[in-house]
């Protein structure tokens, strides 16, 4: 048996021991992926849908995912993909070598490949090989992660992803145990600090009214200590999976809580519902709306208008935290 070094579960692995996520094993005493280059789906979308609001605004992306996860969130929105044994899904997985995936992204005129359906840590070697091919093709890579990787794997994530959105779901150990299936949030907080040094970082918090809503202030204070420039997305949680029957959070009251909690951060958003009015970026210096967006809920955010000149506010010249530049999506594709 060897210990897996990808996430903080550090599962014992052997030839037929696959770990909690069931994505790794150790056939010859070395940790290997069970299903390299297998993808559950790919789709073309804008980068705002991940969400990234401060990285390559408007960029068209190839959104991809694999199978498996190292968490057991009670409200998982993608449970039908990530909670099923990955071995049982292989009959419908797409088999795409890194070069094929990158070529597909280019044929669809994408600027980026974004991993956002399940947890990238469970497919890290495949993603590293995609990153090599993507870099050669001039594409950037981004991901959405639960942040529970080991320090070594976090460094590898930071090296291949030009933008990372960490899901900071809760702080209290009791919450982590009951709602996420992990002992505590310590590794996630540590990795947020590390990723903020390594790459462009945004943070998302799915808000469950009455469950983690009282922790919003503490989360915002932690993020502000790391950097007040970290964009923070409070997500109205839609109850799914084991919470399907539970109430929907109140938009008015959670919105007020988020506004209050995020005062020390410069970029605070509240969305994941149709018509949210909390999705624009205001200049932190003069208050002018400098990036306007539209929320259609669940992966439907859109860039409406981009007013910055480079990274500067057109009204006061103040700097707005941004990685990359505005990508104006056109109706025409380029030849691969």
């Amino acid at each position: 048996m060897v210990r897996c070094g990808y996430c903080e579960r550090r599962c014992p692995l052997g030839p037929e021991s696959y770990g909690y996520c069931r994505m790794y094993y150790a056939p010859d005493g070395r940790v290997e992926e069970r299903f390299p280059d297998k993808w559950c789906a790919h789709a073309t979308a804008r980068i705002e849908t991940i969400p990234f609001y401060h990285a390559w605004p408007g960029a068209r992306c190839l959104v991809v995912g694999t199978a498996g996860c190292n968490f057991d969130c009670r409200y998982c929105a993608n449970a039908e993909v990530v909670k099923v044994d990955p071995a049982q899904q292989q009959d419908v997985m797409l088999d795409m070598a890194p070069e094929v995936l990158v070529a597909t992204a280019r044929k669809r005129d994408c600027r980026a490949i974004v991993f956002s359906i399940n947890e990238p840590t469970v497919s890290l070697p495949t993603l590293e090989r995609v990153a090599v091919a993507a870099r050669e093709a001039g594409l950037v890579m981004g991901c959405l992660t639960n942040g529970y990787a080991t320090p070594e794997a976090t460094a590898r994530l930071g090296a291949i992803f030009s933008c990372v959105n960490v899901s900071l779901k809760g702080l209290a150990p009791q919450f982590c145990q009951t709602y996420l299936g992990v002992p505590d949030a310590g590794p996630i907080l540590r990795n947020i600090e590390a990723l903020a040094r390594l790459t462009h970082l945004e943070v998302t918090t799915p808000v469950i009214e009455g469950v983690n809503s009282h922790e919003l202030g503490e989360m915002a204070a932690f993020l502000a200590d790391v950097s007040p420039d970290i964009p923070w997305h409070a997500f109205r949680l839609l109850p799914e999976y084991k919470m399907r029957k539970e109430d929907y959070p109140s938009i008015e009251s959670v919105g007020a809580l988020v506004e209050g909690a995020g005062e020390k951060l410069r970029y605070v958003y509240f969305h994941n519902f149709i018509g949210s009015r909390w999705v624009n970026t205001d200049c932190p210096h003069c208050g002018a709306a400098v990036i306007e967006r539209h929320s259609l809920g669940c992966g439907g955010d859109r860039l409406e208008a981009f007013h910055l000149i480079g990274h500067a506010c057109p009204h006061c010249g103040g700097r707005v935290a941004l990685r990359g530049f505005h990508e104006s999506a056109t109706a025409k594709e380029t030849a691969a």
Binding site: C40, A41, H42, A43, T44, A45, R46, G58, R60, G65, A77, N78, E80, V81, V84, Q89, D91, V92, L94, D95, M96, V100, T104, K107, R108, I117, R236, L238, E240, Y248, S250, I251, E252, F273, I274, G275, R277, H294, L296, G297, C298, G299, G300, R302, L303, E304, S328, A329, T330, A331, K332, E333, A335, A336
Partner: protein, 377 residues
Amino acid sequence: MSLAILDAREWQQVVDLRTGRPLEAQGAVVDMVGALVDRHPFPGDRDNQSNDWVTDTALDLIAQYDPRFAFLSFSEQYYSWRYSPLTEAERQQRVDGAFAAVERFAQASGFTVVVVGTGDLVPAAVPVDLEGLDGLAVSSNWCAHYAGLYDLSDRDRALLAAHPGLERVVSRQDIMTLFDGRPGDEERLPESMAVTREGHFFKGTSLRRLYMIPQPSAVVPVSRNLGPVGSVTDIRAALLKLLETQKVALAFVEGVGCADFRLPHTACANGRGWFAYEPGDGQFLAISQGKHSIFEHNGGYRYYQDDTDSKPYPYSGFFTEIPSGTIGQAIPGRSIAVGNRSMFMHVLTGCDVTCECFARNLYNQGVMAVVHRQDKA
């Protein structure tokens, strides 16, 4: 100006449908519809209350607005069959449930209800993977049967010709000929279209495992109370005739073909030649406009090309204009549409007021109501 009322449960915004920008301007009809959708939160695509939500919402809207025509879609069974492993008995139970919801509507409204089944589903047996092509294969989230093909190489053509999962590959010109296309019509057609064999499916962008898939049916059932119709494109004219003497509702029971249809019916053509509509927006549009609309809407279009910075109608998929000549526009009296089949009722029906579920990939965001007209007496 058309207005959209976005209802995310106990929280509403009224916006300009074209731009998505919030509006203060309201009116009696908007106020009435806002209160109505607040009373009827959407239970979810696969919830067993979903078809009853259509009936309840439509009856409430009829009581408030007194329309002469109603366009309804009952789709809970369609989503459940696609994405849930159901036994045949459970499947039949859901057909019964859909027809019961239609019947309850008919009884309570007093409308003459013309029922259309949109075609059969078959077990999803074999995924077809075209990712290795030199060119590009595009199928949408909901399209299992057709894929658009672009920039094919000679190698691709040979691969496709020998592919065991494909029934045929047709060129853009073949599609133009089949549907009597005129110059300019080809703009939104793919360069070629791949068509799968029965039980085979393009995985497309769908995250979820498919259990059943639409098998586009050459014929679909239309309840006999409409009178004789030879094709889905004849339904519109026959309905308009019926409307001269009575209040009429057109009810779609999604994913149901002739074998499972519970009412006396006529089998009418659901396409032309090799092309048959899958249940969904292309078929709705053909029925609503009374003509084949494959040039505007086909499986395999590069839908994401329309997601540009300047695209209007944020709620209308790849449409950049609301289609004209739809059935709601042809009716002089008041009209409504209510449905639980995604956010396309307001685009495809042209009715004065529509209430539709706002669900994305089965995630329940709430309800959208669209008020196209407030001026009908």
